[in-house]
Amino acid sequence: MIRIENLIKLFGPKKAVDNISFTVAKGEVLGFLGPNGAGKSTTMRMITGFIPPDSGSIQVGDYNIMTSPIPAKQLLGYLPENAPLYTDMTVYGFLSFTAELRGLRGAARKAAVEKAIDTCFLGQVAHQNVDTLSKGFKHRACFAQSIIHDPEYLILDEPTDGLDPNQKHEIRSLIRNMGRSKAIIFSTHILEEVLEVCTRALIIDRGRIVANGSPSELKAMHPDAGSIILKVDGVIEAAVKDKLNALNYVKSFEILKVKENRVTARVYPKEKGSLFAEQLANDANQCGWRLEELHTDEGRLDEVFRQITLPDTVKQDSKKKEPVVTVRI
């Protein structure tokens, strides 16, 4: 388990990381989200022992990274931001070098290098010089060094940055598979990635953790989460309004679109739950409306992210501009 407690890092007067605490257990894939400069990379650099924290403790497995850095680093695999590589080496030579520093020798080293090359699809460029590679290959070569010793803990700083959609997909499934047996922390700007790969996500803003939960829990923080989009045919707007006003389990609703006799509305329940959709479907059927669409909105992570991480002044402005048409019952 990686356990981080009350981590603080100052860069001059600026608090880059401000009292962060969290844990990641094996079998978990923790997504690190946050705007640029939020403190994600700084936190990762502290976990991997590259920069020392000003206060707080970092426990990697049984070791504290500050007091016993070498055994702690042995348990970690790290992909730094921008995937740095020695440009004067071949991919094979580079991986061989990192394997050797990881304590692998002889046949074990050869096997580890070949496995990493296979896993990261580097076969065709294995004997090519690193500076002749495309960005995607460079990124995967650096990713390969992070998993070469099959570490228990993986820290990946933007592992899919600069990859094409196919490569992104490959790396994501790799992370998901490895996440079953390892503890993985990875940072990203791509929110779908979090939904696809993570078991838990942390949102960091200005050095603080502002949200911590599973991707679905974070999505549920959206104000529209749990509401139902209802699209019915063969009925006029007034009739829909009357009926929805009369239903006692509906808290409020808004008409989104009216086109001929087709009405689309967003309906908010008094109590969020799975029964709501069923009740609404039954009532719509009883009224003789033809249901074209009825689905529960699970909320949108990008909106939640914006809500949480936008500076307060911008938030107020954007609230003013939002045209919200809500009919209160």
Binding site: R45, G49, I51, P69, L85, L101
Partner: protein, 248 residues
């Protein structure tokens, strides 16, 4: 092999490989040998001296290294910082000290190789006359130690900056100061203003003064301690600089 030595060996091996996969190593060796030859033969009138010794060869070394050693050392850490690989290297299970030693040893061995390739000088002088090979051996030991001292200074300046050019210039200036402190014309001039004790103290921190002993065939422990002391001090300071960069 113990773990620390293993790590130093692995890092040194990579560094040396890095020299030889790029043209740097070959260009350096060719220029070094060429300049050593030019300084020894046409500039010092090696043959006209009619001496069976390599004095004419060694006397130029502190000037020869002034530009060539910083050219080898300037990239040691500045390149790591520019490429960002320092983050990769220092998050591996190696200590900062092992990384510094690995890189330094590799470059020092490389300089040693360049120096060893001047062996035709020994053959020439042995062919032409009957030199004291012990003195020649002392000269080589001194020259190698002096190259190490210059290199450790370059190592320090390369840790200060991401720019290899800045690292090179800083290193040349510091090395020059280490030569000038014992340069006879400057010392004679300083004697007009300073007491003889102060001038001799100043010349004692010069590489020139200490290297001169080796040229005479004297291996004095104080000279060895001087060169090793400079190396240790500079590498230790390099470690401090790297640690302070990481602390932010």
């Amino acid at each position: 092999m113990n773990l620390a030595l293993r790590n130093i060996y692995t890092i040194a091996k990579r560094e040396i490989g890095g020299y030889f996969t790029s043209p740097v190593a070959y260009v350096f060796i060719v220029i070094f040998l060429l300049l050593a030859g030019v300084f020894t033969f046409p500039l010092s009138d090696f043959f006209a001296r009619n001496e069976a010794s390599l004095n004419a060869f060694f006397v130029w070394h502190c000037w020869l290294y002034l530009f060539l050693v910083p050219a080898v050392g300037m990239r040691l850490w500045s390149e790591e910082r520019r490429l960002g690989t320092i983050e990769l290297l220092l998050t591996m299970p190696v200590t900062g000290w092992q990384a510094i030693m690995g890189k330094f040893t590799a470059s020092w061995l490389f300089l040693g190789l360049a120096l060893a390739l001047t062996f035709p000088m020994i053959i020439t002088v042995n062919y032409l006359g009957n030199p004291d090979n012990g003195v020649i051996f002392c000269g080589y030991v001194g020259s190698f130690l002096m190259a190490g001292a210059y290199l450790s200074i370059s190592c320090l300046t390369s840790a200060l900056t991401r720019s290899q050019v800045v690292s090179f210039i800083l290193s040349v200036v510091i090395c020059l100061a280490f030569i000038m402190a014992g340069w006879p014309p400057l010392n004679t001039m300083l004697e007009q203003w300073l007491s003889p004790n102060m001038v001799s103290a100043l010349s004692n921190i010069s590489v020139m003064t200490h290297f001169a002993q080796f040229q005479r065939g004297i291996i004095d422990s104080s000279d060895i301690v001087f060169f090793l002391g400079v190396i240790f001090f500079c590498l230790f300071t390099t470690g401090v600089i790297i640690r302070s960069h990481r602390a932010g």
